[in-house]
Symmetry: C2
Amino acid sequence: MSEVRTLKVALLGCGNVGAQVARILLDDADALAARTGARLQLSGIAVRNIDSERDVELPRELFTTDADTLVKDADLVIELMGGIEPARSLILTAMQNGACVVTGNKALLAQDGPTLYEEADKAGVQLSYEAAVAGAIPILRPIRDSLSGDRITRVLGIVNGTTNFILDQMDSTGAQFADALAEAQRLGYAEADPTADVEGHDAAAKAAILASLSFHTRFALEDVYCEGITKVSAADIAAAKEAGFVIKLLAIAEKIDNPNGEGGISVRVHPTLLPREHPLAAVRGAFNAVFIEAENAGQLMFYGQGAGGTPTASAVLGDLVSAARRVVLGGPGRTETTTGYVPALSIDASTTSYYIGLDVADQAGVLARITHIFAEHGVSIEIMRQTIHRDAASKVESAELKIVTHRASEAALAATVEAVKGLDVINSVTSVLRVEGV
Amino acid sequence: MSEVRTLKVALLGCGNVGAQVARILLDDADALAARTGARLQLSGIAVRNIDSERDVELPRELFTTDADTLVKDADLVIELMGGIEPARSLILTAMQNGACVVTGNKALLAQDGPTLYEEADKAGVQLSYEAAVAGAIPILRPIRDSLSGDRITRVLGIVNGTTNFILDQMDSTGAQFADALAEAQRLGYAEADPTADVEGHDAAAKAAILASLSFHTRFALEDVYCEGITKVSAADIAAAKEAGFVIKLLAIAEKIDNPNGEGGISVRVHPTLLPREHPLAAVRGAFNAVFIEAENAGQLMFYGQGAGGTPTASAVLGDLVSAARRVVLGGPGRTETTTGYVPALSIDASTTSYYIGLDVADQAGVLARITHIFAEHGVSIEIMRQTIHRDAASKVESAELKIVTHRASEAALAATVEAVKGLDVINSVTSVLRVEGV
């Protein structure tokens, strides 16, 4: 434990996060050596263009465009290039050469995780990716290790800061989606092309990773139902607010027991109503949080910064130190284990509560006809509230009906809404939103 | 990975937590085997009295009063007896025999942790104790592993459910301490002899453990300044509430940089004012939460159930699975590392903000005399608010002065309060409370 060896660390990519990782490796070299029992020597930084401008000033001689050579000579490889190729091939090369790999590449993991996990097992090296979900928040390691003797039943995560910022803006200012998005772009919380965030694709990749670790089964992106926030209107937010809810884009992975057949795991991303007292409702701005329910542990929440170069670099370094400790101790590596196969359920088999807003005619018997349709489809109503709007002369202008259901399947709900739409007393269905935490 | 070996697990103690651990080991044997690669066979449960009543029905043949023999034949030992002896000797015996040990014994760790950690290192086995702090919340492993590449600067923890329940009751109902304590006892949240909880001793043991892991230095109970909640009055709570604060018993460990000399780590437990918007302020009832500030990660919070047999058993099992995985993989064990020595600071060297309530005479020049004393002692005032109470005839009955200071040392504050008390215009000092999170 006294003789200090040197481990060569190859860094692939030098963007926002990569530049901070390089800075910390150089600045904190002594502390990192004390904690791992090895000097972590940054052997090089592979980039596409050596002359690009970086957030941090770094020694020019570290940069190279030859990622392949750099990787083949490294004990530890940090992949922060993003995208599928060449990241995927470089990670495979690194592991085949016996290097442990740390990555933050959620898109690659969600698309081709199984290949990478298997290759890591085969090569006996560690593949770790704490930075891929919820930035600085230690969430994957607690799920994999701390909860390894428990059974997780449900995971609800606010895992995309851009959409949380936008929804928070809409909630606090009453802004429409387009205006809140523009504000987020102005402040640097949203990219010029915000598609991956606002359509939920980023959250869906994280949902696949969270579900895989939580339920010991490998889920891919195609197993995740995904609905973004582009259709959430200021009116939806206002209606939710009035009813005591807040709308959040949640990544959800939960175990569904189906008494009539095969149960499974529902993995989905969609705008969701949460009661304002729920711990996740207080997660504001660009912060992230993951709420976990486990059979023995009960309810847990992990909260922190979900993005940003420096916070995410903290997660990368945590993985790196753990991998280095493992190399120093000489034990074999091992990533997460999949111990069973549970099927991913389609969104139709998922069950949740729903909030439904209806613009209805003010006629006798309307409520009876609507509740009859709900009953027919086996969807139980928990709360129903009717608001009548009148003009100055007390003439009815419109009637609004707000319904919160008990848990129902997506299929039953969809059929109910279709049938309700067919009623002549319905002017329009103003919102259909899923509810959690009630 | 295909051949499954058996690891013998000895359980010492069968109280609240122990009984749940035994139940899970028996009920979930297959799932645990799949996750560890070994069958975890509960080889026996050592208790003082075999015929005591337990929360869970367990096979009688598992029980023994001969803890020593049980321990010597085990691969993994779970110590949940509590107290110092014989727990300490049994843990040492287990480690010397090559067994990994899982314990939830915070009192023992706080008193004699260094001996145990050293013995674990020497024997090359793992000693883990996630259950000792904040029950089910995975907090020690994230600090030790996930944040191992970062520098923690501050830890604020609500780590005692009993006192949090009592303070929460006082805050929501206006009750006095004694009444809230009686209610907590009635509901089973406080023990018949509540001393360890309400005097802060339990929180202090946890503070020592949190500080040791966060700052890579071994702190013992005697390094922790400890003040309980018995002196917190309904008036303190009301005054805090009016000023926008909530009072929590916090376990605090923070790095203090002293420009005039040696800095160090302040480890302390005391009632603390927190702004109501602070994430910790929302932690209600018997829940626990730990808030961490790190240089790179920024602010993180971990929230969940801090006590209870089943939640705490989840933490024990997580440690057990990790230890078993390590044994299966064949790597050497290693507990936390201490990489440097930083001194524990006395409470006098700690700095924090303070809230001071004064009952003052309504005379000209009072404010000037008080502010002069603060200035003389180098304590800077952030907010000062005077409230004059008048009777029906508009005659002044009393004048209240509320002061929130900027960060000051405990010594400077104490001297300031002493000097203020000496003023003839001061009727009484109604409260002196520490403030965090501003």
